[in-house]
Every structure is written in structure tokens, then in C-alpha cells.
């Protein structure tokens, strides 16, 4: 497999899919994440505190918890921190001894419920068929039947049930929520490559479940355990409070039961009634905090990371433009730098990029996945920044004479869609799934015009006809359209106000080759008819060769080469451009061996010194790694490679260099 056609897992250091983190969730990474999360740390410390009390109550408690040696109903004092009960027992000592039972219940029920949840959830998903049907039904029924009343019913028949019974009943009834989640997680894993390969290797099911599936679900299993423990602590305290536990047991719930029976609140023994509740809430909070923190750790979108000095948004001192905008240029990007916040500091995803787009021009931006193309696109559209990762750190985006970087969100709204619109990679994701096409068109029209409903209707029909969709589909919802139609509908939407620029992020790559081609033809035709400019991102070189006027080749966040399409395809200069072209088949040309580019793009958090392509370059020279080469002007095109320092095509230099590299 060539590096170019590889899937997009490392697209940008933005939010990663939860699974990616979950998969490497076991081991050191998990611990590092826990230690860095304040909620997790607080929960852990709280839990440790109660664990110590549970293990060493005899050493810690100042008095015998059951001894009725003291005056009843004493207030707080240095002798009795939390006073005494109506029976003359020390409240603090009772609390300390009561911890043990709550901890046993929490861990016992959590463990039992988790084991059952894993057993039922994973086997339901993995076995499928009838087994799945039956197990899922049982899970769902148990999920809906109110568990706590059911436990009360059981406890009513079996009064004064002991600790063991309590753990068994709570555990046996509390697994359904976890089982349901584990089942759907397993289902989503079933078709993954690593499981397919295990199946092909002929591994036994049990082996696959234990060694391939379970480790990937560490976070979810931990969450199930923590949720079960929290629920157990609360439920057990409730049961004991209403007198359905053993009234002689040492537990917080039983303390509350006796306090309530002696009307402790009215009789000025407030601490007797309040402290056990605080303990229950404290232990519960420990589990709840850990649970929440795990959610954050396994779902990176929930974590907020900020950069120090983003410059997008309104500023009091607008940066003066380097050069006055040329009248025939619709868009000029100068020194644009975009960074992502990561746990290891900022990652520069777009590094000092300059380019321009003429009126009605079709500009293609190409490069491998993860080289910053899409980030560049969204930066131009000012669609970065929270909630999306990535912020503009420097540079200007001069669009129709104004610097987009300095516009406020409110000012931007007036420019959006009327003057430039955006077409995204997948219409399935970019169209709102719960609104009809008509409603989504209407939203855009209402935001930017005073069109009457009738005019909006007509305009919507017009643009649909432009992309050859029957206007009856205005009433359709996105999921009711085919992939090609959805994509066309999105392009139609982008044409509502016939903008001057349309920014397209791989609008055809979700389609099959035939649909891709016809859509491209249509885009090109519309562009020539309506004269809007297009900035078009793709990793498919062949698309660009036929449709774009100029091509910008990006590598590792930087411009590698920028020039006329014809020139670049006939005489690619940068070794990276050459490699890109070699990796794609020519449609009509002779059959040649396709060469992939060895290696993969560098990690943008740690880019190599000097030329970023040097580690993969066949012509690499010692000087390549000493400094980042500037863009050299070669016959009006720009190339970032020291081979072109003299300003002309160095045929000899290339030959010598490649000999030297071997």
C-alpha cells in the first residue's frame, strides 16, 4: 500500500476518535492521563481516604463504635468530634467502622455487575443471532424495570438480609446499563481489521474476546465498574435507611436509620444524622468524579485545550497589510500559521503559508493526509477555533479587500455564504440530519436576505435544478438521498447566493469513481458559467490535473510547490511532487510500475530539522537538514527545494544528487 492512499487516521492532531485513545487506553498512558486530570486526582484521593478507613478502622477510631459508654446526645467536642448518639455511642467511631461495609458493597457490587455486564454484553454482540436477541431483550427489560423498588420487594420478603445477600442482589440487578454499552461497543469493533485478521488466523472465540476485544474496552469497563459502585453505595444506604438492612450492622445507612428513628435532627443531634450522609456522598462523589474523569479521558472532545496567543477574532490594532490587494486577486493568504493545542504543546499544522487566488480561478491544493490541507481550508473560512481544534497564530487572509483574520464572528456572518461558501467532504455529515433540504436552504436564505418564503422556495428550486436534482427532493431529509445526490444538494446550497468563492474540501472523495467524475464535470461547468473561484482540496492528483488552473502542493504544513497545473504535471520540480505523481496511475498513459512514497509524513509535533521532506527524499544532501529551504522562484513558479537555488531547473544537480544518495 502506498503512503498516499493510506486511510486518514492521522489526518490532523485535532480531536481523535474516542476509540483510538481507548485502544491504547491500557497501561502507562492511562495512568498519565489520570494523573493529569484534576477530577480524577480528586476522586482518587477521596477513594484512598475511605479505603484507609475501611482497612484500619481499629487503629483509627478513637472509641469502640458499639460501646454505650458516654452521655447520650452530646454535641461536638474534642472528645467526640461529631458528638454522640442517643444511645451514647461515639459518632466518629461509628462512621469510621461503617466505612468498611460501604467499601465492600461498592467493590463487590461494582465487580459483580461489571463481570455480568461484560459477560452478557460482549457475548451478545459477538455471538449475534438468536443469542444476541435473547440477551439484548433481557438486558433491555432489566434496564426499564425500576430496580430499586424491585430490590425493596425482594428485601421485604427477606428482611434483615446480610451483607452478602445485599451484594448479590444489587450486583445481579445492576449490570444492564453496562451490558448495553459494552454490546454496542463490541458490535462496532466486530468488523475492525484486527478482529478480522484474528478470525482469519483461526483464533478461538474465547481467545479473541479476552485478548483482542476486552483490552480495547478498558475505559468502558472501568466506567461500568465505577457506575456500578456509585449506584451500589447509594442504593445500599437507601435500603438500610428505610430499615431493610440488618439494624445491628455497622454501616452509614444503618446509622441514618437509627438517627431518623430517634429524630436526631429535631433532638439536636444533627451531626449524627448529617455525617453519615456526608460519608455516603463523599464515597459516591469519589466514584462519580473518577467516572466523569474517565469519560473525559476516553473522549478527548470533552477536554478543553487552549493556545496562548491566537490572533483570530477582532483586535484593537489590526495588522497592516503587507501589500495592497491586487484587484484581480480575490483571495490573498500571507504568512498564515495555524496551530493545534495538544497535551505536548502547540502543533503547527499550517506553517507560514502564502498563496493567492484570482477571480474565477480554480486552485487545487494537494498533498498526503495530515499535511495541513484541510486545516488551511478551514482557517481561510474562519471555521477553526473552539469548539474545533486549531487556531490562527499569525498571518493574513485578505478576501475581497478585508482581512478575514481580524473580523469578529458577527462581521464574518455578513460575509459568509453571500461572498464565499463551503462544500465539505461528506454531505452525510455536513447536512443536518434532522432538517429537510428545504429547511436547510431556508435557514441560509433567511440569515442573509429578506427574501419572501415564495422567493426562497423558488431560489431553492433553481439551485437544485442547477445541479440536476429534481426539486421534489426539497422535502427529503439527508438520509433519504443517495451519496451523489447529497453531495450535489450541498453544492446547490453553496450556490444559493452565487458567491465569489467556493471552498471545497474533497467534495468528491466519498463517491465512487463514476459519480466522482460526473460531479467534477458539473462543478467545472458551473464554475465557468457562474464565474466563481474555487479552492479545491484533494489528495487525488488526477482530479486536479484536469480541472484546476494552478496547483499548491503542501507537505508537512508547508508549501512545497506552487505553480501552473500544466507546468507542474509536465515538469514536477519538488521531489515530493515528483513522488506524488509517480504514485498515481495515468488514465491513458502506458502501464508503468507505481512507486509509493516510502515512509510517512513527519509528526507535526516534532518536524525534522531543515527540509521536512529530507528523510524521505531520494535526492537528500547534507545541507538539506541544516536549514528550512525558502521558496525559490523558478520560471514564475515556487519550489521549496535547495536543488533550485540558482533559479532554474538543475538537471545536472538532480542527477548528481541522486547518485550521492544511493
Amino acid at each position: 500500500m502506498t503512503a498516499i492512499t493510506a486511510a486518514e487516521p492521522t489526518a490532523a492532531p485535532g480531536p481523535e476518535p474516542p476509540l483510538a485513545e481507548a485502544r491504547r487506553g491500557y497501561g502507562a498512558d492511562l495512568w498519565r492521563a489520570v494523573a493529569r486530570n484534576r477530577k480524577a486526582l480528586a476522586g482518587l484521593i477521596l477513594l484512598m481516604f475511605f479505603l484507609v478507613l475501611a482497612v484500619f478502622p481499629g487503629q483509627i477510631a478513637p472509641h469502640d463504635p458499639q460501646a454505650t459508654d458516654f452521655a447520650p446526645g452530646l454535641g461536638a467536642s474534642s472528645q467526640h468530634w461529631f458528638g454522640t448518639t442517643a444511645y451514647g455511642q461515639d459518632v466518629l467511631s461509628q462512621l469510621i467502622w461503617g466505612t468498611r461495609q460501604s467499601i465492600i458493597i461498592a467493590f463487590g457490587v461494582g465487580g459483580l455487575a461489571t463481570a455480568l455486564a461484560v459477560l452478557v454484553g460482549v457475548s451478545a454482540a459477538y455471538l449475534g443471532g438468536l443469542a444476541d436477541g435473547v440477551l439484548s431483550l433481557v438486558t433491555d427489560v432489566l434496564l426499564v424495570i425500576p430496580i430499586f423498588p424491585l430490590i425493596i420487594v425482594i428485601a421485604a420478603y427477606e428482611k434483615n438480609s446480610g451483607l452478602f445477600t445485599l451484594v448479590i442482589v444489587l450486583g445481579a440487578l445492576g449490570w444492564s446499563y453496562g451490558a448495553r454499552q459494552l454490546r454496542s461497543q463490541t458490535l462496532s469493533l466486530r468488523t475492525r481489521d484486527f478482529l478480522e485478521s484474528a478470525r482469519v488466523r483461526g483464533e478461538r472465540k474465547l481467545y479473541v474476546i479476552v485478548f483482542e476485544i476486552l483490552p480495547t474496552m478498558t475505559s468502558l469497563i472501568v466506567a461500568t465498574f465505577l457506575g456500578g459502585a456509585l449506584y451500589a453505595v447509594l442504593a445500599a444506604a437507601g435500603l438500610q435507611f428505610i430499615g431493610l438492612g440488618d439494624p445491628n450492622s455497622q454501616s452509614w445507612g444503618t446509622m441514618l436509620y437509627w438517627a431518623e428513628n430517634n429524630e436526631a435532627l429535631g433532638a439536636n443531634m444533627v451531626l449524627w444524622a448529617i455525617m453519615p450522609g456526608i460519608c455516603v456522598a463523599g464515597l459516591g462523589a469519589a466514584f462519580a468524579l473518577l467516572n466523569y474523569a474517565f469519560d473525559e479521558i476516553s473522549n478527548p472532545a470533552l477536554r478543553m485545550r487552549r493556545l496562548d496567543r491566537p490572533i483570530d477574532g477582532p483586535r484593537t490594532d489590526p495588522v497592516p497589510l503587507h501589500a495592497p490587494a491586487a484587484p484581480d486577486r480575490i483571495l490573498e493568504v500571507r504568512g498564515l500559521t495555524v496551530a493545534y493545542a495538544s497535551d505536548d504543546g502547540p502543533v503547527i499544522a499550517v506553517d507560514d503559508v502564502d498563496f493567492d487566488v484570482g477571480r474565477g480561478e480554480f486552485l487545487g491544493i494537494v498533498g498526503e493526509s495530515g499535511c495541513g490541507k484541510s486545516t488551511l481550508l478551514y482557517a481561510i473560512a474562519r471555521l477553526l477555533g473552539p469548539p474545533f481544534a486549531g487556531q490562527i497564530m499569525a498571518g493574513q487572509i485578505v478576501f475581497q479587500g478585508r482581512d478575514m483574520v481580524a473580523l469578529s464572528e458577527r462581521q464574518l456572518r455578513h460575509v459568509r455564504w453571500r461572498e464565499f461558501s463551503v462544500v465539505m467532504q461528506s454531505a452525510m455529515n455536513a447536512l443536518n440530519p434532522v432538517l429537510s433540504i428545504r429547511a436547510q436552504m431556508r435557514d441560509a436564505c433567511r440569515a442573509h436576505s429578506n427574501l419572501t418564503p415564495k422567493e426562497i422556495e423558488e431560489r431553492s428550486r433553481d439551485v437544485l435544478r442547477l445541479v440536476s436534482i429534481d426539486p421534489v427532493h426539497l422535502d427529503s431529509y439527508p438520509h433519504q438521498l443517495s451519496g451523489g445526490m447529497r453531495q450535489r444538494a450541498m453544492i446547490a446550497m453553496a450556490l444559493l447566493f452565487t458567491p465569489d468563492l467556493i471552498i471545497m474540501d474533497e467534495p468528491t472523495s466519498a463517491l465512487d469513481v463514476v459519480a466522482q467524475r460526473s460531479l467534477m464535470m458539473q462543478i467545472k461547468e458551473l464554475q465557468e458559467r457562474l464565474r466563481f473561484a474555487v479552492v479545491f482540496v484533494t489528495h487525488d492528483m488526477s482530479l486536479v490535473s484536469h480541472f484546476s488552473d494552478r496547483v499548491l502542493v503542501m507537505y508537512a504544513a508547508q508549501v512545497a510547490e506552487f505553480g501552473r497545473t500544466r507546468q507542474i504535471f509536465e515538469h514536477p520540480r519538488h521531489p515530493y511532487t515528483q513522488a506524488l505523481l509517480d504514485a498515481f496511475p495515468s488514465i491513458r498513459g502506458p502501464k508503468v510500475h507505481l512507486a509509493g512514497i516510502p515512509g510517512s509524513p513527519p509528526d507535526l509535533a516534532r518536524p525534522p530539522a531543515g527540509c521536512r521532506f529530507a528523510p524521505r527524499c531520494p535526492h537528500v544532501m547534507p545541507r538539506c537538514t541544516s536549514a528550512v529551504p525558502p521558496l525559490f522562484d523558478v520560471d514564475r513558479d515556487l519550489v521549496r527545494c535547495v536543488l533550485y537555488e540558482s533559479g532554474e531547473a538543475p538537471n545536472d544537480a538532480l542527477a548528481t544528487a541522486s547518485q550521492g544518495a544511493v
Binding site: L137, D140, V141, V144, I145, P146, I147, F148, P149, I152, V153, A155, A156, Y157, E158, L230, Y231, L234, A237, G238, I242, G243, L244, L265, G266, A273, I274, P276, G277, V280, A281, G284, A285, A288, Y292, D295, N299, A301, L302, M304, Y378, P386, P387, F388, L412, R416, W417, M424, Q425, N429, A430, N432, P433, V434, L435, D443, A444, A447, H479, M493
Partner: protein
């Protein structure tokens, strides 16, 4: 249509499971609870009540277990839940109907309010990511969600009734006021409901806020929200119809799952406040070993949860065209 049928089948199966649990649990318990209870009550209650217990538990009727089961099912279907011991000789169904309005008014209204309010706050705090709401709320509500309902109820009583004397500490209304549709009575009922309602609201709202916040954060990273921004829509429009409407869908599904939790909390709150609703009656029946009443109430709670799920299903169908197509 298939979707609706499947859903209906699921409801029937769940109800059947609840009824069967009712039937099986007393029979599966070690040391026959029914017999023990009968010997305890012997001579203390009227023969009819004794007979009601015998029928309910299939004692002294030489029926087989299977036969007893079907007799039991038949009784339930016809709404015959037996005679209450606690309120002898009143029928269980009559007692349940008396308690129901109190619980619907308190727990029902409070749960809906908590859901709507929590969902709204969750949406806004996610929308203003990093703002004051978003910074302060999650830690607070993670902790309050771990509070035992009944303990918070105790605290509320201590502070607002015993210490400050602002609000009544127990009951659904003052026994001295006449029960009638008068302003005085309604006002009294409202006064009595404030503390229990506040307790349920405070402990249950956190869950809705946190899940809605997290859902919204995930939805905000979706392409269609980015697209809505690109279209230059007003923030208000994006928040409600693009982010909110999509983020609430999983919350509606979660509503079903969390409801059991809310119901159990509400039972304890009613208990602490001596509120004359279903939960209080349920615990009364447990204390008095009034098994017929207890079984009927357990069934009622299950039905209530199922009805709430039905409403959530309906709301989902209204908000999400994809579910409509499946049905």
C-alpha cells in the same frame, strides 16, 4: 410499522416480566415468606383478609404452580389486585388510585421540569464552552449527583422546617385545612410540595445537565454545526436547531434509563417527607407486609416508567426524521 410493533412487543414483554417477578419472588424466597406472615397475622385479621392472602400466594388452594400462575395473570389483567391489609378492607386498586395524583403532581412534574431545565442548562453551558457556567457546573453536579436523595431531604427539613420554620416538614397538606378546590387548600399543597420537589430537582437535574453538556460538545464538533457556522446562521439558530436538536436525541433515549433511578430516589423522598404518594405507600406496604398492595405498586411504577419511555419515543420521532422512517 415494524419499529412500532417491535417497540410494543418490548413493552408487553417488560410488563409480563414485572408481573412474573411479582409472582415468583415470594415463591422463590427461602423460608416461605407468605406462610411466615400468615402465622403472624393469624387471629389478628379478619378471615376475608386471610383468604385474600391465601389466594394471592396460592396457599391452601391445592393448585399447581402453573395453574396458580395463570390465575394470577388473569387477576392482574382484570385489575384485581386484591385487598389491602394496611387499609383493610379497602381494595388495593382504590388505595393506589388515591395515592397516584400526589405522586404524579410531585414526582411527575418535578422530573419533567428537571429534564427540561437540565437539558437547557447543559446545552447553554456546552455552547459557551469555557465560560462561567461550563467551568463551574460539571464539578458541582458530578458531586451532587452522588448525594443520597433521602439525605438531602433530611437536610432540607432540618434547615427550612426545624431551624428556619419556613416550610412544613411533612405530609402533602395540613390536616387542619379542609380538602377542597379552594385557594387555601391549593396553596397549602404547594407549600408542602416545595421542599420535596426541590430535593428531587437538585439531585436529578445534575444528570441531565452533564449528559446534555457532553452530548452537545460532541455534536458541536460535527460537520453540520461547522457547516451552519459557515452558512453564517445566527448563533441562536445554530444552538437550537443544529446543536440542540441533535444533542437531545441521545438524551431522550437516556431518559428511559435514568428514570428508574429518579423513581427510586423519589420513593425515598416521599418516605422522608411522609408525602401521601405512591412511594410512601409502597414503603408503608413493605413495613406492614401488605404484599398485595406492594405488588400492585411495583407494577404501577413499572408502568409509569414504560409510559415515560413511550413519551420519550414519541418526542424522538417528532425530532428525528430518521426514526420516523424506521417506523
Amino acid at each position: 410499522m415494524r419499529f412500532v410493533l417491535r417497540r410494543l412487543a418490548f413493552f408487553v414483554v417488560t410488563l409480563w416480566a414485572a408481573v412474573t417477578l411479582n409472582f415468583l419472588i415470594p415463591r422463590l424466597m427461602p423460608g416461605n415468606a407468605a406462610l411466615a406472615m400468615m402465622s403472624r397475622y393469624k387471629g389478628r385479621i379478619q378471615p376475608q383478609a386471610m383468604h385474600a392472602i391465601e389466594i394471592a400466594f396460592g396457599i391452601n388452594t391445592h393448585q399447581s404452580l402453573v395453574h396458580a400462575y395463570f390465575t394470577y395473570l388473569g387477576n392482574i389483567v382484570r385489575g384485581h389486585f386484591g385487598i389491602s391489609l394496611t387499609f383493610f378492607p379497602d381494595a388495593v386498586s382504590h388505595q393506589v388510585l388515591q395515592a397516584l395524583p400526589w405522586t404524579l403532581g410531585l414526582v411527575g412534574a418535578t422530573t419533567i421540569l428537571a429534564f427540561l431545565l437540565g437539558t437547557f442548562i447543559g446545552l447553554v453551558s456546552a455552547w459557551r464552552r469555557g465560560g462561567f457556567l461550563d467551568g463551574a457546573l460539571p464539578p458541582i453536579f458530578v458531586i451532587t449527583s452522588a448525594f443520597p436523595y433521602f439525605w438531602l431531604a433530611l437536610l432540607a427539613i432540618w434547615l427550612f422546617s426545624i431551624k428556619l420554620g419556613w416550610l412544613p416538614e411533612s405530609g402533602g397538606y395540613d390536616v387542619q385545612t379542609t380538602v377542597a378546590w379552594s385557594w387555601a387548600f391549593v396553596g397549602d399543597v404547594v407549600r408542602h410540595s416545595i421542599l420535596p420537589a426541590a430535593t428531587i430537582l437538585i439531585t436529578s437535574i445534575g444528570g441531565w445537565i452533564l449528559t446534555m453538556r457532553n452530548n452537545t460538545i460532541s455534536v458541536l464538533a460535527e460537520d453540520y454545526v461547522r457547516m451552519a457556522r459557515a452558512k453564517g446562521l445566527s448563533p441562536w439558530r445554530i444552538m437550537w436547531t443544529y446543536a440542540g436538536r441533535n444533542a437531545i436525541l441521545p438524551n431522550l433515549a437516556g431518559f428511559a434509563m435514568s428514570l428508574g433511578f429518579v423513581v427510586s430516589g423519589a420513593i425515598l423522598v416521599e418516605f422522608v417527607f411522609n408525602y401521601p404518594g405512591v412511594g410512601w405507600m409502597f414503603l408503608q406496604s413493605v413495613e406492614n407486609q401488605d404484599y398485595a398492595l406492594m405488588q400492585a405498586l411495583f407494577l404501577l411504577l413499572t408502568v409509569a416508567v414504560l409510559l415515560a419511555i413511550l413519551v420519550a419515543d414519541g418526542a424522538t420521532a417528532v425530532l428525528d426524521p430518521r426514526t420516523r422512517d424506521r417506523s
